[in-house]
Assembly symmetry: C2
Homo-oligomer: 312 residues x 2
Amino acid sequence: MKADAAALVEGARAGDRGAVARLISLVESGGPEATEAVARLHPHTGAAYTIGITGAPGAGKSTITDRLIARIRRDGHEVGVLAIDPTSPFTGGAILGDRVRMQEHATDDGVFIRSMATRGHLGGLALATPQALRVLDAAGKPWLIVETVGVGQVEVEIAGSADTTVVVVTPGWGDGVQAAKAGLLEIADVLVVNKADRVGVDDTVRDLTQMLELGGSRPWTPPIVQTVATDNRGVDELFDAIVAHRAFLESDGQLAGRRADRAREELRSIVGARLAAQVGEVCSGPAFDAMVDRVVKREIDPYAAVDALVED
Amino acid sequence: MKADAAALVEGARAGDRGAVARLISLVESGGPEATEAVARLHPHTGAAYTIGITGAPGAGKSTITDRLIARIRRDGHEVGVLAIDPTSPFTGGAILGDRVRMQEHATDDGVFIRSMATRGHLGGLALATPQALRVLDAAGKPWLIVETVGVGQVEVEIAGSADTTVVVVTPGWGDGVQAAKAGLLEIADVLVVNKADRVGVDDTVRDLTQMLELGGSRPWTPPIVQTVATDNRGVDELFDAIVAHRAFLESDGQLAGRRADRAREELRSIVGARLAAQVGEVCSGPAFDAMVDRVVKREIDPYAAVDALVED
C-alpha cells in the first residue's frame, strides 16, 4: 500500500509516528515522490531548533544525546533525533548496555529516533539529512538532534550545519588536537569534555582553551563544558550552554544568516547531484563507448568528443 | 605577441622548444584556445610511451627520474618530463645538490622538463596533465616521464594513468605498508626499493613480496627492483623492468586497453569539469541569492528552486 505524499504529510503533522517514519524513508529515497513530499513539507518548517552532536568514536556522543533527550523531555518538549553515527547504539553499532538504556525513550511518544545508514552513499546522506530533518520539523518537534561521528568531511559538514554544534572530546593526550585536525573545533559552538572524571581532564581543557585562543577573537567563544554523561553529570550545564548559544544567535540575526547559508548549501547540493547524475548519463552506454573508440583512433579530439556527447 | 594554436603546434612538431613550452602553458590554461590546440595536437599523438614515477616524499623519485633520463638518452632517444611532485627539484622544492645535477639535462636539447604547479587546483591538474603529455607526445618525444608525489587521490590517479607506473619506496618499517594504504601498490607495474644500501632493505622486499602475493595471481606480477639511485646502481635494471612491462602490455593488446581506459577517464573529467562549472554558474549571482531568500521565507521549496534556477 502506497500512501501519497499529501496524506503522509498531513498524517505527520497530526502526530502519526508511522507517517513520520514513512515520510523519512520517502525523502531519503529521492525521486519524484520525494520531491513532492519536500515541496509539501517545506512550508510547515522553520520552527524547530537543531543541535548537532559530533566527535570521535567512543567519545560518548550517544550517551550525551540520550541525556539531552531526557533533559529536553523534562521541560515537556518533544524531540526528534537523527543518528548518523555508525558507532551509535541508535544505529545498532554499540554494546547492549547502551541499547537497553535507549529503550526508555522507545516507549516515549514525545521522542522520535531515526537512524540513517552511512554505508556506501555519503554524498546521498548529505542530501538526505536536511530532508529528514525537514520531516521532523514539519511534524512539530521543537528540538532536533543530529548525532554524527566526526571523522569524515561529510559527517563534519552535516553536524556543522546544525543551529548549535556540540563537539565532544575526551581527556587524554591528543584528542583535542585530533579534533582540531579534523576541523571539528572550527565548527564547534559548544565544546564538551566528556568522561571528565578521568585523568587528564585539566590538560584537555587547557589545550582546548589555547586552541580556541589561537583562533582569535570572535563574537561567540565556545564554552567548554565538562560532563560525565554516564552519571548524568554536567548535562544540565551542557543544555544551558546550548540555550545560551541559541539566545546569542537569535539576538542579533545570526540564526537567520546561518539558516540562509544552509539553504544556500542545500541548493548547491541539489544542483550538484543533478549535474553529477548527468555526468553518469553522458559517460556511459554504447554512444560513449563509441566516442572513446573514436578518440583512441584519433578520429576526434577529446573536447570535440565531449561537445558531441553533451549535445546528444 | 600571441601566436595562434596552429603555428605553435607546427613549431612544436618541428622541434621548437619555445613552441612546446608555450603550448603547454596554453593547454594548462584551459579556455577556447586550449581546446583548439588539443584538437590540433591530438592527431599527432599516440607514439609516445609514458612512465609514471610515484612514491612518498623523500623516496628519491626525482633522482630516479634523473637517472632514467640519462639511461634513455644513452640510447639516443629524446625524453619529455612532467614534474608534478611539489618536493621535486624540477618544481623547485629541493636542495641545491639536486638542482645542480639537473643542470646536465638543462643543456641537453633531447630533454624537455616541465614542472606543473599543484597548489590550489588539483582538479585542474588532473585535467591539465594529459594535455601537457599530449603536447610532448605530438612534439615527437618517444619517452615521457610523469613524476608525482603519491600522497593524494589525484596524484595517485595521475601517476597511475601512465603506461607503466613505477612506485618508489625506501627501506624501513612501514614504508611499504604506507604505500599499500595510499593505494600505491595497486597501481604499481614496477616496484622500486630505493636507497637499497640502507638497513632493512631485505625486510622491505619481503613485505612487498607478501603484499603482492595477498593481491592474488594476475597476468603481470610487478617486479621489485633495488636501486641506489644516487650512485646510479640498479637504474639499468629498473629501465629493463620498464621495457619488459611495456613488451608485456604490447604483446597481448593490453596497452590499447589501458589507453582506451585513459581516454574514457579523460572524457569523464572533461564532462565533469564542464558540469562543475555549470554548478558554479547556477549557484552564484543575484538570481541565486534571491532564490535562497525565497527558500528561507518558505515561498518556494528547494527542489522547485533548483528547477527554476536550472531552467534559467
